[in-house]
């Protein structure tokens, strides 16, 4: 995409790109037509558009006044053609991979991975293997055409309807890309399904839409990481992830988020968990200017369980506002939330969570733990938990701590020969460990490296 196209939304529309200020029914309709979508999807888009236009930008929580929706461009077709193997990737993309430190092992050993480059999945591998198990794994765009019935059943229906909030509606109107992952009854996918996607275009909002369905007794782990280089203009990422966890099914979603520091990362993630099912969210947040991320688990069937693990590091100028939303809608459901955050520079890490126990949901228990570490003078943190208990037969607890690195820990490690920087790095790593151990090793190593480097910078 050339600079001119970005500035001139009208001109570039035919190439699949426009700006939000030009967003209207006509634009959405032609987008849908270009993609060759069935009518019901077009209707969904148009309905979403009307919701988007009617809803105000949320004013609770983080200040979003810096977000200039009108100036954002969206829908970019990939610059590269579909490739068959990783070695066929363009040199500059490979360079980006190197810069991002994607481990070699990752690149060569990706189970059913797709690499999302500029809004469209361009590279998918080992799909056949998954297909043999009856697993559907493809880009959402493709799924709309190939499995319309399935998609229609799950896409923005009872998990994240267009009316959920403004940015969900925006996604519904102009979504592009994302993954459709369907695991049939009783199928256990042994290797994690991974997607590494990148946004690499100035001022581009990315509106990918992912749906994961694990039927009864199925299990699957899905990993995505995203990263973007530094831009001049502010961008928006407003993705949606809808997850359906069937009876006794298990789903784990791991996201390593490292958007460039000028992106508004306003994502919607929600899971509906049926009887005895288990949902695990692992969220590692490093990047973005503002992140508002509150993965929700609706525990809809008896005995359902959710576990949320978050680690985030808010650096200079960043506001990372994360939290878990747990709805105990059925008896004997349980949830565990663990959040560890670090604020450095002028960064601000916030935990904003909600636990709700519905009337009649007896025998539920919820436990939330969040700890915050402040490592620079300008940094700040906050914890805003809310527990709504409408059923007296519940056990709901919340615990949190905040403070700096203990001097005695620093001194102890220094007396063992570590420099102050090294000691800080070690302590921070240890602080995050309960969450990072949930992340696949190669990512965790990388993540720790980034954090340690950042901690060193932050202190100096």
């Amino acid at each position: 995409m050339k600079e001119k196209d970005i500035l001139d939304g009208e001109a570039s529309r035919l190439e699949g790109m426009t700006e939000l200020k030009h967003l209207n029914e006509e634009v959405v309709t032609s987008l849908s037509r270009e993609k060759g979508e069935p009518d019901w999807m077009l209707k969904k888009r148009l309905y979403s558009l009307s919701v988007f236009e009617s809803k105000p930008i949320p004013t609770w929580g983080v200040d979003l006044s810096g977000l200039k929706l009108d100036d954002l461009a969206y829908y970019v077709k990939p610059d590269v053609e579909k490739v068959d193997s990783l070695s066929d990737l363009p040199a500059d993309l490979k360079k980006t991979f190197d810069a991002l430190g994607i481990p070699e092992a990752e690149r060569n050993f990706l189970a059913g991975n797709g690499i999302m480059y500029q809004s469209e999945v361009i590279y998918e591998r080992m799909k056949d293997r998954l297909a043999k198990q009856g697993v559907i794994f493809m880009s959402m765009d493709e799924a709309v055409k190939k499995h319309p019935d399935l998609v229609q059943k799950y896409f923005m229906t009872r998990c994240v309807p267009p009316t959920y909030h403004k940015f969900a509606a925006l996604n519904g109107a102009i979504w592009s890309g994302g993954t459709f992952l369907y695991v049939p009854k009783g199928v256990k996918v042994s290797m994690p399904v991974q997607v590494y996607y990148l946004v690499d275009h100035p001022s581009m909002g990315q509106f990918e839409h992912t749906v994961i369905v694990a039927e009864d007794d199925a299990s699957v782990e899905y990993i995505e990481g995203c990263s973007a280089p530094m831009y001049v203009k502010g961008g928006l990422h407003a993705g949606i992830m809808e997850i359906f966890v069937g009876k006794r099914a298990r789903v784990r979603v791991t996201t390593i988020q490292n958007w460039s520091k000028n992106i508004y990362n306003l994502v919607t993630k929600r899971a509906i968990v049926e009887e005895e099912g288990k949902m695990e969210w692992v969220e590692a947040s490093l990047g973005s200017k503002v992140t508002m991320l509150y993965p929700a688990s609706v525990l809809a069937g008896r005995g359902a369980r959710a576990e949320h693990f978050y680690v985030s590091m808010a650096g200079d100028g960043q506001v990372l506002d994360t939290g878990a939303k747990i709805v105990h809608a059925a008896p004997d459901t349980s949830a565990y939330v663990l959040s560890r955050s670090i604020s450095k520079g002028s960064g601000r890490a916030i935990y904003r969570g909600q636990v709700r126990v519905n009337p009649g949901a007896t025998g539920c228990s919820s436990s939330v733990k969040c700890d915050s570490l402040l490592i620079s003078d300008e940094s700040s943190t906050a914890t805003f938990p809310t527990e709504e208990v409408y059923e007296p037969d519940a056990d709901v607890s919340h615990e949190a701590t905040a403070g700096r690195i203990a001097e005695e820990q620093l001194f102890y490690l220094m007396s063992r020969g570590f420099s102050e920087e090294e000691a800080r790095g070690l302590i921070v790593r240890g602080f995050m460990e309960p969450v990072t151990k949930k992340i696949p090793l190669e990512y965790a190593v990388e993540f720790n490296k980034i954090v340690e480097a950042e901690v060193k910078n932050g202190v100096a």
Binding site: S380, A382, E387, V389, P392, V396, S397, A400, A402
Partner: protein
């Protein structure tokens, strides 16, 4: 026009000028809580047709170096006027400014020690302003009448206690408020350098009760607060306690609630930039009793300074089976065991007011009926 009328007019006009900010304004004579909290299950109708009583009296007894002056005679005093206007832009708080007629300014002279007991003889909206001068010590209890929580004749009581602890002073305040059908009690304190405040606050929600605390903990000062809320069946209670820290200050806040009706327990501890060396601990503990109990808890921390230690925690749930079983195995009925456990929960407040008086008819009576009948 008297000073009092002027105050009241000013407050009323401010009250009326406020758009529905946090509280939905009277609609057909009803105030609905929905606006602020957005918790649909908590929408609760504000009782209709209330009146603000203004007849009745106070009893201030005590010893030591203090001086109690009726507040109305002091409204010309700049300092007092400032205290009287210490209100947030909150409609309910403004009601308290509009509604009071009875109040005292209580001043403890520098270096002196005083012990006080203040009793409300009648149910009245009141204001108490404490000024504890440098190095002075005060120990005071304030008690409002106990009684039924739900009455036919709805009265609105909105009262405030404001405390100024000057540097080096030592203050211990305990109050029990509430029990009236619609009652709001506000508490504020400013802690000067190296002063200390120990607070035991007990609020019993009537049909509709609100308890609000706001404390500035000054440099090197120490706050130790226990804030308890008893919410009987068919009652709504909202308890909120905010603390702001200055450098080297300490706060230990424990909010407790026994909820048989609907309860909201919110604490917020803020540590602004520069409040180095502050140490904060905010704990919320809510026990839910009976089948109707509903509770919202929200212990929040907001920290802009790294040289601090802050903790918070909350727990809400039913009375532990283990404790119940233990007591039952000692021969108590479930009802007796529960009431004993609730008593234990509120035992720190025994020093203010006999707990039987507070708990009687609430816990032992009808409110527990259902649950224990179910089991026995």
């Amino acid at each position: 026009m008297s000073e009092y009328e002027a105050f009241r007019l000013m407050a009323e006009s401010r009250y009326r000028s406020l758009s529905p900010l946090k509280w939905k304004e009277m609609k057909d004579g009803r105030l609905i809580y929905r606006e602020e909290l957005k918790y649909s299950d908590f929408a609760m109708d504000f009782p209709e047709g209330f009146e603000i009583p203004d007849e009745g009296g106070f009893e201030v007894k005590g010893e030591g170096g203090f001086e109690a002056t009726p507040l109305l005679s002091k409204v010309h005093d700049d300092w007092v006027a400032r205290q009287l206007q210490r209100l947030s832009e909150d409609k309910v708080e403004l009601l308290s400014l509009a509604g009071w007629k009875h109040g005292y300014l209580i001043e403890v002279k520098s270096g002196e020690t005083a012990t006080l007991k203040i009793s409300l003889v009648d149910r009245l909206p009141f204001r108490l302003v404490f000024r504890v001068r440098k190095g002075a010590s005060l120990s005071a209890t304030v008690v409002t009448p106990s009684g039924a929580q739900h009455e036919e004749n709805v009265k609105l009581l909105a009262s405030r206690i404001d405390v100024t602890c000057e540097p080096g002073s030592n203050v211990d305040i305990a109050y029990k408020a509430g029990s009236s059908p619609v009652e709001f009690i506000g508490f504020s304190a400013d802690l000067g350098i190296s002063s200390s405040l120990k607070l035991d606050a007990l609020h019993v929600a009537g049909s509709y009760g609100r308890h609000f605390g706001d404390v500035n903990v000054g440099q090197g000062a120490r706050l130790s607060a226990r804030v308890a809320e008893l919410i009987p069946k068919s009652s709504f209670g909202d308890s909120m306690f905010n603390v702001r820290h200055a450098s080297q200050s300490e706060s230990e806040v424990e909010m407790r609630a026994a909820v048989l009706g609907k309860g909201v327990i919110r604490g917020l501890t803020s540590i602004p930039k520069g409040a180095v060396g502050s140490n904060a601990n905010l704990q919320e503990r809510v026990i839910m009793v009976g089948e109707e109990a509903k509770a919202i808890t929200s212990p929040s921390l907001d920290i802009y300074e790294k040289e601090v230690q802050a903790r918070h925690g909350s727990w809400s749930g039913r009375i532990g089976d283990r404790e119940l079983f233990y007591l039952e195995s000692r021969g108590l009925s479930e009802k007796e065991a529960i009431s004993l456990l609730i008593r234990g929960f509120f035992s720190p407040f025994e020093r203010i007011v006999p707990l039987e008086e507070v708990l009687e008819g609430i816990v032992l009576g009808r409110d527990l009926g259902e649950r224990s009948e179910d089991k026995t």
